[in-house]
Symmetry: C2
Subunit: 119 residues, 2 copies
C-alpha cells in the first residue's frame, strides 16, 4: 500500500507567513531498522537539498535510552512558500509514496525561531 | 505540588558518550498560555546559558496549526557530562520544581547529529 503523502508533510501555517521556517520532523524507527531508515531518509534529503529555498538540516539520532523519538530532523527553509513548493513535485510524491516508508511513522511540523543564542 | 525533576530531565546515554550532545525538548503549551510558558522557560535558559559546557540553543514556536508540540527547544552541549552536571545543582532543582511548571509537560531527550549540511 502506498504511503499517504499528506500525512507525511508538515501543515502549512494558517496565516500568511513570510520569514524562514524550520521543519522539525520526529521519526519512529524500530530497533534494528536504523540502516533501512537512514537509506530512505537520505534519498529524500538528496532531493530536498537540491530544491530552491533549502538552507540547512541536522538529522539527530537519540542517545537517551528513553527517547520518545529515535530520529529527529531539524531543517531550515528560506520560506514556507519554498518549503511547500518542494513538497508538491512529482519527484517528491514518487519518493514519499514508496511502501517502505510505511514502517517509519513521523510527526512533522513547521516552526519559527523565537529565542536563539550561542556562547 | 512541586514538579518531579526526574521527569523533566533527558535520560543519560547508556553507554559512555564523549562527543557533543543535543537536547531536543518538546513542550505542550495550552493556547493562551504562551507568555507564562516563555517567562518560565527564559528563567531556566538564563541558568543553563551560564553553566560550563553550554554551546547554543534555538527555541522554536509552531506555525503549523496541527503541530504535535507547540514549542521545541534544540540546545547543544559540549558533552553529556556537562549536560548532566548542569541538571544536578541546587539552583536547577529549585527552578524546575516550581509548581508553575506542572502546566507545561515536556518530552526531553539527548541526541547526536548523524547528518548535517547547509547550502
Amino acid at each position: 500500500m502506498p504511503t499517504d503523502a499528506a500525512e507525511r508533510i508538515a501543515g502549512a501555517p494558517t496565516e500568511s507567513h513570510t520569514g524562514p521556517v524550520t521543519l522539525i520532523n520526529c521519526f519512529d524507527v524500530p530497533f534494528g531498522r536504523e540502516e533501512a531508515f537512514l537509506e530512505l531518509w537520505q534519498q529524500m534529503n538528496d532531493y530536498f537539498r537540491a530544491q530552491p529555498g533549502y538552507v540547512s538540516h541536522r538529522l539527530h539520532r537519540s542517545v537517551s535510552p528513553n527517547a520518545r523519538y529515535r530520529f529527529v530532523n531539524v531543517a531550515t527553509w528560506i520560506s514556507n512558500a519554498h518549503f511547500q513548493a518542494a513538497h508538491t513535485t512529482d519527484t517528491f510524491y514518487e519518493r514519499v509514496q514508496q511502501a517502505t516508508w510505511a514502517e517509519f511513522s513521523n510527526s512533522p511540523a513547521l516552526y519559527e525561531v523565537v529565542s536563539e543564542a550561542s556562547v
